[in-house]
């Protein structure tokens, strides 16, 4: 027995001793294995039938550059349309109005339930169903002129994205504490103000990581629009290799640009997430 607050003798003082580092054998072995594998792959590609000079030449060809610009522009616009639709549909889904709830559910069901490539083809060929489109008495135009590859791709990608985004945003809104709604209402906020000032900013914290994920996915999904002649980067690469038969070289060029764009977006997403996690205590 020892006195109150006292300690039993016989335990050595460890204060002066340094902790020795354990050798990390596993890391050295793994690194060696990975380097060997990488070396073999590089060697195979270097000796393979790839004309790297073609890759270098077409990397900055005007058609390819305008293709990647089209890819990025389409991804941004389709994502913007998808996000706006997503917010509207999520709010409809969460509203008290059974008609709106049913509409939202129907929209999600339809656009998530059919392949995107099929939707793109439908939009592009909609002139087969409706030769002219427009608002009766106000404006109308031949569908073939309106439904350009750009418009069809934007509608197809945006509407499809909206169906997925609405679920992401609904999850974000649900994740906001009920007390936040009470507090917003208690200071006299209307439903829309509360949504804009209190609920959505907090939902963003939950919504952004999956939304960034969807955006990165969208960059690559735009390549599907090549089937409806939208001149995005894969379509441009294909047009070139139909002419010169350098299939692999041009696919490598397109692949390079997709990777480049995605690499730039990843840190942008990080910055956005940091902005919306203000006050959460997890700012890193």
């Amino acid at each position: 027995m020892t006195a109150r607050g006292g300690v039993t003798p016989g335990f050595p003082d460890l204060g002066g001793l340094a902790v020795a580092r354990r050798p990390f054998w596993g890391r050295w072995i793994a690194a060696a294995a990975v380097l060997t594998a990488l070396g073999l792959i590089l060697k195979a590609f270097a000796e393979g039938q790839i004309e790297w000079s073609y890759v270098a030449r077409f990397l900055t060809a005007p058609t390819i550059l305008s293709g990647i610009v089209n890819t990025v522009v389409m991804a941004v616009l389709a994502m913007a349309l998808g996000t706006v639709l997503g917010i509207v549909v999520a709010l409809m889904r969460l509203s008290q109005n059974p008609v709106l709830v049913a509409c939202a559910a129907g929209y999600t069901w339809l656009f998530r339930g059919t392949p995107l490539i099929l939707q793109l083809l439908l939009w592009f060929n909609i002139a087969l169903i409706f030769p002219t489109i427009g608002l009766p008495g106000i404006w109308s135009a031949p569908a073939v002129e309106v439904m350009t590859p750009f418009v069809s791709a934007l509608l197809g990608l945006g509407l499809n994205q909206g169906a997925y985004t609405s679920e992401v945003i609904r999850a974000g809104i649900i994740s906001v504490d009920e007390g936040q709604h009470d507090a917003a209402r208690a200071i006299g906020m209307g439903r829309l103000t509360a949504l804009r000032r209190v609920v959505l900013p907090q939902a963003m914290k939950v919504v952004l990581p999956p939304l960034g994920n969807e955006f990165i996915s969208m960059i690559k999904t735009t390549s599907l629009a090549s089937v409806i002649q939208f001149p995005e980067v894969l379509h441009s690469a294909q047009n070139i290799y139909y002419a010169n038969s350098r299939v692999i070289e041009l696919l490598i060029v397109a692949g390079f640009w997709y990777l480049a764009v995605v690499s730039v977006l990843t840190p942008v997403q990080m910055l956005l997430e940091r902005h919306f996690s203000r006050g959460s205590g997890r700012t890193r």
Partner: protein, 254 residues
């Protein structure tokens, strides 16, 4: 005879088959500090939230400073007010929640100026000065730029009180304001409330702090099963309770 700041007449409220309020009638006079006590499920929080229309009542009426809440009488029938009209009525009362419910993405100052700026649309400079003065008043002038996550529970609750006061309310509602606090932080919040009571604010306080009720309240209401069992001065209700149920409750919590 003064008009009551809040008048409850025959207020009923059910959640599904659970009757939370069974015909409560009560007056809260201007400048009065009323403490509501009772076991959980007794209806005291429901009564408080019904003043702020955080849920609509099923029957009866509540008048705030003479104005009927949530309803309008016209052509011999009652009509529900629009969301915007209800929001305007709500802004006349300040509410402080058990779990603070500060907006986590705004600083302490941001929380306080939000209502006056976005709801009342008062001029920015005036709102800012008044908000700073309110933060000083609750002893947090140096925390204006802090986010809620960086504040202790007691500090958060004091910011929440400042946020409610920034709307220049006629009435302050406190829903167990110290129940979620560590014991050593209860005192600072009660001190702010005591100062507020002394300044003449009309207050309805749902609380388990019987010491605070005894010291600050003008009237104590004991509620059980959705009804008022006993009402009177703190000395009457807490000191010499007349009802058996009040005595049973007090013997459990004291």
């Amino acid at each position: 005879m003064n008009t009551p700041m809040v008048a409850f007449r025959g207020v009923h409220k059910s959640f599904g088959s659970f009757e939370a309020l069974r015909g409560v009638s009560l007056d809260v006079m201007p400048g009065e500090v009323m403490c509501l006590i009772g076991a959980s499920g007794s209806g005291k929080t429901t009564l408080l939230r019904s003043v702020n229309q955080l849920h609509p009542i099923d029957a009866g009426g509540i008048w705030l400073d003479g104005e009927l809440l949530g309803l309008r009488e016209e052509g011999g029938r009652l009509h529900r007010l629009s969301e915007a009209e209800i929001a305007r009525q709500r802004s006349g009362t300040g509410m402080v929640f058990q779990r603070f419910n500060l907006f986590p993405h705004m600083t302490a100052l941001g929380n306080v100026v939000e209502g006056p700026l976005r709801v009342q649309r008062r001029p920015k400079a005036e709102v800012r000065d008044e908000a700073m003065a309110l933060l000083e008043r609750v002893g947090l002038g140096d925390k204006a730029g802090s986010y809620p996550v960086a504040l202790s529970g007691g500090q958060q609750q004091r910011v929440a009180i400042a946020r409610a006061l920034a709307m220049r309310p006629k009435l302050m509602l406190f829903d167990e304001p110290t129940s979620a606090l560590d014991p050593e932080l209860v005192g600072e919040v009660l001190a702010v409330m005591r100062e507020l009571a002394a300044s003449g604010m009309t207050m309805m306080v749902v609380t388990h702090e019987l010491g605070f009720a005894r010291e600050v309240a003008d009237r104590v209401i004991y509620m059980d099963r959705g009804a008022i069992v006993e009402a009177g001065t703190p000395a009457e209700v807490l000191g010499t309770p007349q009802e058996e149920r009040t005595r049973a409750f007090l013997s459990k919590v004291l």
